[in-house]
Symmetry: C2
Subunit: 398 residues, 2 copies
Amino acid sequence: MRIELPSRAERFGANLFYSAQKLYELDGGLHVDDQFTSPFHVIQQIPQEQLYEIEKDLAIVIPVKDERMRVLEGVLTGIPHPCLPIIVSNSKRDLVDRFSMERNMVDTFCRYAKKKYIITHQRAPELAGLFEKGGYKHLLDEDGLLRNGKAEGMLAGIVLARLLGKKYVGFIDADNYFPGAVFEYVRLFAAGFVQGKTPYTMTRIQWHSKPKIIGSELFFAKWGRVSRITNHYLNRLLSHYSGYETDSLSTGNAGEHAISMPLALLLDYTAGFSIETYHFVNMMEKFGGIIPGPFLDAMKAGVEIFQMESRNPHLHDATKGTAHIREMIEFSLAAIYHSAICPDIVKKEIMGELRRQKILRKDQKPVQARRFPALVHLDFEAAAKVADWAKHGNFVPA
Amino acid sequence: MRIELPSRAERFGANLFYSAQKLYELDGGLHVDDQFTSPFHVIQQIPQEQLYEIEKDLAIVIPVKDERMRVLEGVLTGIPHPCLPIIVSNSKRDLVDRFSMERNMVDTFCRYAKKKYIITHQRAPELAGLFEKGGYKHLLDEDGLLRNGKAEGMLAGIVLARLLGKKYVGFIDADNYFPGAVFEYVRLFAAGFVQGKTPYTMTRIQWHSKPKIIGSELFFAKWGRVSRITNHYLNRLLSHYSGYETDSLSTGNAGEHAISMPLALLLDYTAGFSIETYHFVNMMEKFGGIIPGPFLDAMKAGVEIFQMESRNPHLHDATKGTAHIREMIEFSLAAIYHSAICPDIVKKEIMGELRRQKILRKDQKPVQARRFPALVHLDFEAAAKVADWAKHGNFVPA
């Protein structure tokens, strides 16, 4: 792979937010060109071997909810072999047991490909058992099962990845039509981690464009409606403290992202549609030095956030309606609004935005999304005793 | 890469047409799994090193005609580094000199990526000079320049690839929106050649699906209107001689294809939109043993045709109108109809089809496309003296 170096970085306490990096070659060749060692090169070649080194420690969590099965099969073909796909499905189990169909499809596919996988239903008792035994009940509902919701499924994926000894965890949606795009995202995840100099690293994908059907033509919009707004207010928050206006943060709603395990366990998460926006907010809270942070090791080592611009457009299944868009905007901005480090001036601007968009009336406040404390509080040793993973895939830990 | 073995092959004289092969993993990992050596495995892993070995001898010809430049830039990011892109552009040179803009974009891009390339305008005098000096004037018009037309540009690409010492030549359209799909196509080209056991090999891509905009939704059609018809009559021709009905040929209009140089130089080509269909017809003519073939070495060594099913949908720029579709159907079927090996019964069926489709009236015959004899008749040694390739790219042959 050949990508440009990040040309700028915004420092926010111990956080380094790198500006988006442009991809030049998806595959940069087998051998490394010596000329890239020149200190004056602005492009870097990331050797295959280093990408594979990361990939064998990288779990790819695929949250599934009734998506078309052949699209999911395509997603699997795009995931580089060394990565472990962890499918957390919340698909219907009755009248038709879609989950069972998914499990069969994945198992057959992986038998042919000789690919390891893990699959679990989000509402499986064994999955809830992990959190029960691990003493982390924030994700469980009154029935003692994992709550519904994509964020909850993603958190379960992090825990499974950690239990299976993975050092990195990435997220890919199940409804991506282009396996070649999936492949690029995962390679970019790995490229981010290769660049990281601390154990606390995150890679976020900035989509090249998002095709929309307008009339009978495709229009390649650079920014989604939600991203445009989310990024603006994240940058406002950043520049309030730095004193310099910026547009560095360009991945405020990056569903495609990956986190090093040490960092993934330290972050708080939110439910609803704000989990990706809240990453930024929570990193500023915890490692920004504005309010006291509990994790001194990470503060000392530093936290690096890479934003990688994909070359593939993002073409996925869901044709989201206006109601969903409005909900996403509200959740994303609420994640900023409710932060202890959000200054009054930015709060006021956010309220103005939400009223202008007619998402909130004058007397309303932004939604308070459910919040989940850092997974470092889960007792992984106890959790490890709950389930026999051989039953949940073709993967038996050594 | 992990792909299935071809499950069947249709023999037609010295030709072996393999049934389409399904891809399981775009990237099969750095190391080869020993278990694939089992003689009972139906999936094979093609090692990275073998793919790279092919790719460094593989030129990728990109015919360009006024396509959007940022789409072309995306295409370049998808081409694996070892391959040499050869851009044959027939874009406008006045009022705005689009070709010059393309050349600047490609040069800047390749400077950043440290990627070698060749670019030429289809109507450049140096390009015509190759054919003039090589004693092969079939492609030249009354002005002594290369004729307009995509097929003519493709042939120029083959000649350039041969002059630059490449052993394989593949074709990728410039209007593909998904660099990840381009990457897959090129990898599949290489995978085909790795499997080949003779010097005379062709790899053709069968698209997974072709998204169409229907209403405000995307529908993923498995077969294009033209392919459906072309493949039917190619299979009819094949089964007429074998005595067994077949649907083995599934890539009759495969714009994405690659040919080993020895085979590329032996084939005749047609202009218009039948070049890909005519590959099949001409291979049956030349190596089928039905009529005497001139190339005994190839007859003896055998010719292998791999059909690879891509996992990426084919989403490209051109929204082709009905007139173009009808023209493509006519040219494709005409390539079969006018063959010396096409039996009367198949000719009759083709005429029936063209009349049913209201493409031909009762008194009309299918179009006779211009035909170009095999490039083996070009004097490459003489042609090599014509141009200084350093002027046409950043590539200087050693």
